[in-house]
Symmetry: C2
Subunit: 360 residues, 2 copies
């Protein structure tokens, strides 16, 4: 008997999602998974310590304290919020409810590369719409797609380009499915889609505390939607999906808006400086509304392309500088994605880039 | 447009799992969800504090430190272990891989009541096999069932009865599907099925740190199986399912076997004393291999049954003593489940039971 033969066919043929490399040792300049270089709010450690004598007790199953704080922060009802073990948890629930066998789920290329994996896990079909280099939102293609669910990363990953609410509204007005606006990076942008929730019951917004709140290690994200959609997502949610320490930490983090805004300002300042640095080298850099830069390396001879970006990637890796490349698609294969780290980390990166330029 | 109409049919008709009531205020004697009354190992708090300056970094995606420790503890390979956000996470992954549309998944009544919810979430069919009051394992019925996946809680919940390895082997030898032995409570028993893994690639064991390790608030569980089955489960696992603090805490907890064994001994001693107390009242009490007692209350007039157990449940609830009842099935509706708490909590419970007896 071969136990593996008992698995569902679509699982046996599934390629697992490739998460960014997470080195566990020291000495790395880690600019590959868009973590915050700054510590979370000081209240976070205190909140975690305040829970240590209750570790033996199950957490609040609906994360109600944090849920209430998010609702207040966004000016919506508590019944419009669901809290997840990272926003990946919410994305997974969305596929379980609105995707599945015999259903078509849309996403864009480029976009967050987890979507096609989640769709395949659920046994549904994926429908990819490709951006061209201008990164103009293909409103008509989304609206005309036969999908029941569509994932749009805005600001987009890995390009960093944000889509204006005016365009998202245009999709929502005509698209007959559920549009998920994945706002993992929206805190770094001037724009987010929360104001559109009131008029569009088919809008779902997902967010994470992993990036702008500096809490990637804790796995907290949330979804915003109409109460009816939240109720459906709740039915497939694990009863205790977010643990006691993560709930307490998330609540403390969202409560300290001063710390949050100060860190945000530092990231935006560094992003600006680095954008200028790479543009001054003559590189194409997408306008970033995130905490990363998507750059098209140009070598000393003025060449660009997949070979050039790979050469720089390997050069940086040899110096223990981790960045991210996306070799599987023509639009992204000539680029690299650099997380916006601390100024000291960006100096290490930029100096390494200059060494590479001299070497090439 | 009604967004809810876009959901998959089996999700729209899903009844969500009813988790045990988790009161967030003080003053409760909480004996309803089998949490440990004792603090976790002292090293747990230190391990959590040791991670506080790395909260901004993603956790190890495969929980490799804890996974290695579990493998060593169980005398199996690291590739035979998967770590979950509670063992519920692993149970969910099992249904995603081996359940699903057009498939039949088995479970027993009574048993952990999450299984039918997970099966329904996955769009598959459930196949329940009912125990009779003797709680004899229906080996032939399991083997003859047309299921591809079967969940067996051993020790059983909510009765507390353990099934001997000899019987589980008998199932494994002839059952052509995946047998999941859910050992959430096995630490409280003299028996567990780990030794059967070597000979049976169709055996999966799930365990949790929520009960015997006193870490319900942290959500850590694990699964043990053949490398091929673990690989399949890993494909549908969220990349960062267990957060940084939970991984560190779990590792510290499993490393301190002295603390673990001391707490276990206290639970077993209290369980013994309480079993005797209820048997001395003339109540039927299942032999418990867990940290709870499943008792059949008998009122002052010698009556038993659903009305009697409900009367005691309500009486206790009014005194802020939380226990659990299982009214949906004839075999369990006349019973109540009492978690084995600290001796002081059991005194409060036992005194309340005596008041109820005088009142009835």
């Amino acid at each position: 008997m071969n136990a593996e033969d008992l698995a569902q066919e679509h699982i046996r043929s599934l390629s697992p999602y490739a998460a960014g490399f997470q080195p566990q040792g020291d000495g790395w300049t880690k600019l590959n998974t868009n973590e915050s270089p700054y510590p979370p709010a000081p209240g976070v450690a205190a909140a975690i310590n305040g829970e240590l004598d209750r570790l033996h007790l199950y957490p609040d199953p609906t994360s109600s304290g944090f849920r209430r704080a998010v609702a207040r922060h966004c000016g919506i009802g508590e019944d419009q919020v669901i809290v997840g073990n990272g926003s990946d948890d919410i994305l997974n629930l969305l596929v379980r409810v609105f995707g599945g066998p015999g259903r078509l789920t849309g996403y864009t290329i480029p976009g967050y590369s987890l979507y096609p994996t989640l769709i395949a896990m659920g046994g549904g079909e994926g429908w990819a719409i490709e951006f061209d280099r201008s990164m103009t939102l293909p409103v008509a293609s989304i609206v005309a797609s036969a999908t029941q669910l569509f994932f749009l990363t805005s600001p987009n990953a890995p390009t960093g380009v944000v889509f204006a609410n005016a365009l998202i509204s245009e999709v929502l007005r005509s698209y007959p499915g559920i549009l998920v606006v994945d706002e993992a990076y929206a805190d770094f942008s001037g724009e987010n889609a929360a104001a559109l929730l009131a008029d569009h019951p088919n809008l779902v917004i997902t967010r994470t505390l992993s990036k702008s709140h500096g809490l990637a290690g804790l796995r907290v994200g949330y979804g915003l939607a109409s109460p009816g959609v939240i109720d459906l997502l709740d039915r497939v949610r694990d009863s205790y999906n977010v643990n006691r320490l993560s709930q307490a930490a998330a609540l403390a983090s969202i409560a300290d808006q001063n710390h949050f805004k100060a860190n945000l300002a530092r990231v935006l300042k560094t992003r600006e400086t680095c954008s200028t640095f790479y543009r001054d080298l003559g590189w194409f850099v997408y306008p970033s509304s995130t905490n990363f830069l998507f750059v098209e390396p140009r070598d000393g001879s003025g060449r660009t392309g997949p070979g050039v970006s790979e050469s720089l990637f390997e050069f940086l890796m040899a110096k223990k500088i981790l960045v991210r490349r996306f070799p599987s698609h023509a639009l992204t294969s000539g680029f690299l994605r650099f997380s916006v780290g601390a100024d000291s980390e960006m100096r290490i990166l930029n100096q390494a880039v200059q060494s590479w330029l001299r070497k090439e």
